[in-house]
C-alpha cells in the first residue's frame, strides 16, 4: 500500500516542492545554501541536481533581497519559494515581509497577485540560543495580507506545502526544527490540505487542547497520559494560523467547555492570546473554566540544555495545564 510509505517531515517538504516544480515551470526556489548543499536542514536536498541552477538558486546572505526577489518575481508572474534559513531571520527581512509582500496587493487596489511562499525553520530544542530558536508566528499572524502555516507532522507538511505553493497570496511555511526527522506515512501523489482548515487530531469530550507545530505532538503525549487518569482530551491542530479555523475551535470549546491552548512561543502576546480571546468571546456561556494558555516564560530562549529543556513547554506542562483546568469548577 502506497499510503504506508513513510517520509520524514523534511522529506515531505522536499517532495512537495519537487512535485510542484515538476508540475509548474514557474515554480522556483531561492535561498542561502539551498543549491548544491540542499539547505542547512537538508530540506532542499537534491532539488538543484534535479531542476538545475536556474530553478534552485543559491543567494547571497541578503534576507531582504531574498524576500524582495520573491515579491518582484511573484508580482511579475512567477511562483517563488524563498527560504529564510532560521525563523529568527524574518526580523532581518521584516520590511519586505510586512510592508511589501503582505501589503502590495492592497496598496495597489488589487492590481497585483503575489503567489510566493516564504519557507523557514522555527522553534527551539537544539541549544541554538536566543537568535536561532524563536517561535515568532504571532508577529506574522497580526499582519493582514499574509497566510501562516505550521505543520505538526509529515502528512500535513506535504499537503500544506503544496497548498502554499499553489496559493495566490504570500504564505509563510514554518517548519519546526525538532520535527524534521519525524517519520510517518505520506501518500506519493500530490495532495493539498486547504489553508485555513484545522484538524481534530484526537476527538475527546472532557477538554479541548488547541496546539500546533511541535506542541500538537506534545499534546498527543499529554492526552495519552491524561487518558489514564480518566481525562478525555480533544486535540485540535489549527495547522494554518492565519487564517485561523475559528469555527472548528469554537465548536470544540462548546462541546468540552474547557480549553487549554498550547504554544511554544513566549506566552505574552502569542497566538494563544488571540485564540483564547476568540474562545471567550464566542463561547463564553459554554466555558466552565477560563481558557488556559501554555507557553514559554517571558525571556529569550536560553542556550544551556539545563535551561532550555525547562523553558520550552512540553507534554508535562500541557498535562498540568489540563489538570488545572479540569480541577476548576
Amino acid at each position: 500500500m502506497s499510503d504506508e510509505r513513510k517520509l520524514t517531515y523534511a522529506q515531505a517538504f522536499n517532495e512537495a516542492v519537487s512535485q510542484m516544480m515538476e508540475a509548474d515551470p514557474d515554480v522556483f526556489c531561492a535561498g542561502e545554501d539551498i543549491g548544491a548543499f540542499g539547505g542547512v536542514f537538508g530540506t532542499f536536498a537534491g532539488l538543484q541536481a534535479k531542476f538545475g541552477e536556474k530553478r534552485v538558486v543559491d543567494t547571497p546572505i541578503s534576507e531582504q533581497a531574498i524576500v524582495g526577489l520573491g515579491v518582484g518575481a511573484s508580482v511579475t508572474g512567477l511562483r517563488p519559494i524563498v527560504d529564510l534559513m532560521f525563523m529568527d531571520f524574518i526580523c532581518v527581512a521584516f520590511d519586505q515581509i510586512v510592508n511589501q509582500a503582505a501589503k502590495l496587493k492592497y496598496m495597489f487596489g488589487g492590481d497585483a497577485t503575489l503567489p510566493m511562499t516564504i519557507t523557514t525553520a522555527g522553534g527551539g530544542g537544539l541549544s541554538a540560543a536566543a537568535q536561532h530558536s524563536q517561535s515568532l508566528e504571532a508577529l506574522l499572524c497580526h499582519i493582514p495580507g499574509l497566510k501562516v502555516v505550521m505543520p505538526s507532522n509529515p502528512y500535513d507538511m506535504k499537503g500544506l506545502m503544496i497548498s502554499c505553493i499553489k496559493e495566490n497570496n504570500p504564505t509563510v511555511m514554518i517548519k519546526h526544527k525538532r520535527l524534521l526527522g519525524m517519520s510517518a506515512p505520506v501518500p506519493t501523489e500530490a495532495y493539498g490540505i486547504p489553508l485555513g482548515k484545522g484538524n481534530i487530531i484526537r476527538p475527546g469530550k472532557d477538554v479541548t487542547i488547541v496546539a500546533y507545530a511541535r506542541m500538537a505532538n506534545e499534546a498527543i503525549s499529554a492526552a495519552k497520559e491524561l487518558a489514564e487518569e480518566g481525562i478525555d482530551c480533544e486535540i485540535i491542530d489549527p495547522r494554518t494560523l492565519q487564517p485561523l479555523d475559528t469555527d472548528l475551535i469554537i465548536d470544540s470549546a462548546k462541546k468540552t467547555n474547557r480549553v487549554v491552548v498550547a504554544q511554544e512561543a513566549v506566552r505574552f502576546g502569542g497566538l494563544g492570546a488571540e485564540i483564547a480571546s476568540q474562545i471567550q468571546e464566542l463561547a463564553f456561556d459554554y466555558l466552565d473554566a477560563p481558557v488556559s494558555r501554555i507557553g514559554a516564560p517571558f525571556s529569550p530562549v536560553p542556550f544551556s540544555p539545563a535551561l532550555e529543556s525547562q523553558y520550552i513547554p512540553d507534554a508535562k506542562s500541557i498535562a498540568k495545564g489540563v489538570r488545572d483546568v479540569m480541577a476548576r469548577r
Binding site: V57, G72, A73, G77, N99, D111, A112
Partner: protein, 327 residues
C-alpha cells in the same frame, strides 16, 4: 547617439506630462484638496523620461516615495492618477494606496513605495523573472541618493550582480534626503562610486539633460537586454519644490541661490531651446503640446473630482487574492 525628432518629441512629451501633472497636484495640495503626503518630481523630469523612454511597455520599473513622475513617464493615465491622489474609487489603487503607492502593473510600474530603498529588491525580483522567462525584458530600479544608505539597496545591488540579472539601477541624486544634505549622510560625492563594490559599471550623467540621461539609459538597458548584466546610472538632478508638498515649511535647508541656479537648468525649457536651436521644433509646436496636455490635466482633475469615494465595504477587499493557483 543621435535621436530622431520623433524620439525627441516623445521625451519632451513625457517631461511635460510629468511637469503638468505635478504642478496640478501641487496646486490641489495647497488648496487642501489632496489628502496625505505628496512628493513632487518637478525638476527631475529628465531622469524618469530619459530612462523610461528607453524601455518597452513590458519592461518593469520600481519607484520611490517620489513616484508620480515614474508612472507618468511609463505611460500612466492622468485620470486614474489624479483620482488616486484624491482617494477616489476610480483611482489606480481604488483609493487604497494614494500618492505613495501609485502603480500600474499592466504598464510594468511596480509601485511607488513608502519605504526608502524597498523598491530595489523588488526590481531584482522582476529582473530575475525576466531572465527566467527569457523574453528579453529588463527591469529598472529608480532610487534616490539618500536611499543608497539603506541596507535594502545594498542587498539588491549585490544580488543583481551576483545573479547577473538584466537590471538598471537609476539613481536620482538630488543632493538631499528630506531636509538633510548628502554630505551629512555619506562621505562620498558620487553615488556611482558604489557600483564598483558590486562589480557593475556605472556612469554619471547630467540629470537635467534628457538626452544625456536617455543615451546612458539606452546603453544600460541594451546591455541588460543582451545579457550583459546590471549597471548603474547616477543622474545629478534637483527637486524644485520641497521634499513633500510645495512650500518649504518655513524652514530653509537650501539657500535661495542654490534653488535659483538649478532652476536655470530646467530640464524642459533647456531642452525646448535646444530642439528649437537644432531646428527640430518651433515654439508653436511646444505651445500646442502644452495646451493639449493642459487640457488632459484639466479633464483629469474634473474626472477625479466627479468620481465617487470608495465605500466602507471596500476596506477589507483586496487584502487577499481569493482563488488559489492554477495547478
Amino acid at each position: 547617439m543621435d535621436f530622431s525628432s520623433a524620439k525627441q518629441f516623445d521625451l519632451h512629451r513625457r517631461m511635460v506630462r510629468i511637469r503638468l501633472f505635478e504642478e496640478a497636484a501641487g496646486r490641489l495640495a495647497e488648496a487642501n484638496k489632496l489628502p496625505g503626503f505628496l512628493h513632487l518630481y518637478v525638476g527631475e523630469e529628465a531622469v524618469a523620461s530619459g530612462v523610461c523612454g528607453a524601455l518597452n511597455d513590458d519592461d518593469h520599473i520600481t519607484s520611490t516615495h517620489r513616484g508620480h513622475g515614474h508612472l507618468v513617464a511609463k505611460g500612466g493615465d492622468f485620470n486614474r492618477m489624479m483620482a488616486e491622489l484624491m482617494g477616489k474609487s476610480t483611482g489606480y489603487c481604488k483609493g487604497k494606496g494614494g500618492s505613495m503607492h501609485i502603480s500600474d502593473t499592466s504598464l510594468g510600474m511596480l509601485g511607488a513605495n513608502g519605504i526608502v530603498g524597498a523598491g530595489s529588491p523588488i526590481a531584482v525580483g522582476a529582473a530575475f523573472a525576466n531572465k527566467y522567462r527569457g523574453r528579453g525584458q529588463v527591469a529598472v530600479a529608480f532610487f534616490g541618493d539618500g536611499s543608497t544608505n539603506i541596507g535594502a539597496f545594498h542587498e539588491a545591488a549585490n544580488m543583481a550582480c551576483a545573479l547577473h540579472l538584466p537590471i538598471v539601477f537609476a539613481c536620482e541624486n538630488n543632493e538631499y534626503g528630506e531636509f538633510t544634505p548628502r554630505d551629512k549622510t555619506m562621505a562620498i560625492t558620487d553615488v556611482v562610486d558604489r557600483a564598483a563594490g558590486y562589480g557593475m559599471p556605472g556612469v554619471i550623467v547630467d540629470g537635467m539633460d534628457v538626452i544625456a540621461v536617455h543615451e546612458a539609459a539606452v546603453e544600460a538597458v541594451e546591455r541588460a537586454r543582451q545579457g550583459g548584466g546590471p549597471s548603474m546610472i547616477e543622474a545629478k538632478t534637483y527637486r524644485f519644490y520641497n521634499h513633500h508638498g510645495v512650500q518649504n515649511l518655513g524652514l530653509k535647508y537650501r539657500s535661495d541661490e542654490e534653488v535659483a541656479v538649478w532652476k536655470l537648468r530646467d530640464p524642459i525649457f533647456t531642452f525646448e531651446d535646444r530642439m528649437i536651436e537644432n531646428g527640430v521644433a518651433t515654439r508653436a509646436n511646444f505651445d500646442d503640446i502644452w495646451a493639449e496636455l493642459r487640457a488632459d490635466i484639466d479633464n483629469a482633475i474634473q474626472f477625479a473630482e466627479d468620481s465617487p469615494y470608495p465605500t466602507p465595504d471596500q476596506i477589507t477587499v483586496n487584502v487577499y487574492t481569493s482563488m488559489t493557483g492554477a495547478n
